[in-house]
């Protein structure tokens, strides 16, 4: 529950110009309540840093033993374009921005094993049928 009794504290704040983002460690103190969801964290951080909700990427939240306090990491990008460029695909998919791969894992592995039997351009062009 996102009641007002939740406190957010940022630690180890750093502006990473190379990756066009701000990164920090986040401490969420929520006594008596369950852990904050990532969406709620995004809203709070967007309000705090006056940034777009879409450019905030939280991850790695772990609740302390006994409850009441959880720690995680947050990245706030300057623009959505830089986010799309630098963030790993799975985090973009989490937010619905990136597209998930269509091929299933099983299919990919089978294809790889089939290609292991071929050599050179056959891997690209496919195997030529043997002429009688």
């Amino acid at each position: 529950a996102d009641a007002s009794s939740v406190t957010i504290r940022t630690r180890k704040f750093m502006t990473n110009r190379l990756l066009q983002r701000k990164q920090m460690v986040l401490d969420v103190i929520h006594p008596g309540l369950a852990n904050l969801s990532k969406d709620d964290v995004r809203e709070k951080i967007a309000k705090l840093f006056k940034a777009d909700k879409e450019t905030v990427f939280p991850f790695g939240f772990r609740t302390q033993f006994g409850g009441g306090r959880s720690t995680g990491f947050v990245l706030v990008y300057d623009t959505l374009e830089s986010a799309k460029k630098f963030e790993p695909k799975f985090r973009l998919v989490r937010h619905g921005i990136g597209a998930h791969g269509t091929t299933s894992r099983k299919q990919r592995k089978e294809r790889k094993n089939r290609l292991k039997k071929l050599r050179g351009t056959e891997k690209v062009k496919g195997k030529k049928p043997k002429k009688e």
Partner: protein
């Protein structure tokens, strides 16, 4: 000789040169006399050196002729003396590297010649005799002694190949056995078995680990609480659980969180670690758990042997416990200081004590005989 206008200095120098040349001529005449009489044998020398001497002589002769021509004011250009000089010079230059290569041989022959020259009235030709053959009290013997007493590093011709060492070491019994036809196994003296470096290190590490585990065992901790002066810590719940403040675990956890926050990642915990954590958190130990945990006794005995008194043992165990609880700064300081507790794997007290022990004594007796 053209006198002309020469200063007094040049004249005096020339007169000195003249007298010295006179002396050299006398010496050379004497030497030539001796050679003619057959006292000095010049037949079996090193031909290389002969060639060198002859070329040098012709070079010098041609040089003097050239200087004579110059003094008389004659033309030198195109004179055959020049070509002779060039020829001799090239020969000498080509001989220099060869001489370098023959240096060792020449030195050896020189030494042999010097020693054997005064052993007999008729000096022998330079042969590759054993330089340590004769010792005669004489001038040349003194010179020879000086040459021999050179440092072997400075005098590389002291090293001689020893073909005798190529022969196989066949002892008497083996020779007899081979002759008789019946094979008898050779009786060999037992030699101390040196463990390979890797296994030694592994063994040392395993022993160290045993010692550490012993220091943390129930038995040792009870001993320490019994003899320690500090007030005893007990848990708030009253349950005399064994682990109240395990600073080692705390330190590990702290290290992990620090790494995670610095690198913006989350570390995964393996299956074994999770299991260990679960058992630790359960904390179902009571007073009677682990009473039969005697793993520490063997290592305690070894420590007792090496250090002696009970106080020493307790001190050592306390040190080990402190080692567990120390911060990274203390650890770095201890490592830098060195000494016994500086994490040296081989500074364990369980090494074999010098020449004690039955086997070592037996070995000493055999070597004495």
């Amino acid at each position: 000789m053209v006198q002309g206008d020469m200063s007094a200095e040049v004249r005096s120098k020339l007169s000195v040169l003249g007298t010295q040349a006179e002396q050299v001529r006398l010496l050379v005449d004497k030497l030539r006399q001796r050679v003619d009489e057959g006292e000095l044998a010049t037949g079996n020398g090193i031909s290389f050196l002969e060639v060198k001497h002859h070329t040098m002589l012709s070079y010098i002769t041609n040089l003097t002729y050239l200087s004579l021509l110059k003094l008389h004011g004659r033309q030198i250009e195109g004179h055959e003396v020049v070509s002779h000089l060039i020829e001799d010079r090239t020969v000498l230059e080509k001989m220099k590297p060869l001489e370098q290569r023959l240096k060792y041989q020449i030195d050896k022959l020189m030494r042999g010649a010097v020693i054997s020259s005064d052993a007999a009235p008729r000096p022998m030709a330079a042969t590759t005799d054993d330089p340590e053959a004769n010792s005669v009290v004489d001038d040349s013997a003194k010179l020879a002694a000086a040459m021999l007493s050179d440092d072997t590093l400075a005098n590389p011709s002291a090293f001689k190949p020893n073909p005798g060492s190529l022969a196989a070491d066949v002892r008497e019994e083996d020779e007899m056995a081979i002759e008789e036809g019946l094979y008898r196994a050779p009786k060999q003296m037992p030699v101390h078995y040196e463990e390979e470096g890797n296994t030694v290190a592994k063994r040392e590490r395993a022993e160290q680990r045993m010692m550490d585990r012993a220091a943390r065992s129930r038995l040792v901790r009870d001993l320490m609480t019994e003899y320690d002066d500090r007030p005893e810590m007990s848990s708030a719940s009253g349950n005399p659980s064994t682990v109240i403040k395990d600073s080692r675990m705390e330190r590990l956890a702290e290290d992990r969180t620090r790494y995670e926050e610095d690198n913006f990642t989350r570390l995964t915990m393996g299956r074994k670690e999770k299991r260990g954590l679960r058992t630790k958190l359960a904390g179902l130990d009571d007073e009677f758990a682990h009473l039969n945990d005697f793993a520490g006794i063997a290592s305690l005995q070894k420590t007792a042997e090496s250090s002696g008194s009970k106080a020493a043992i307790l001190d050592r165990l306390k040190q080990m416990k402190l080692k567990d609880n120390e911060s990274p700064a203390d650890k770095a300081r201890r490592r830098r200081k060195g000494g016994r507790d500086s994490d040296d794997e081989f500074a364990s007290s369980s090494m074999p004590q010098g020449k004690k022990g039955k086997f070592q004594a037996a070995k000493r007796r055999m070597s004495k005989r």
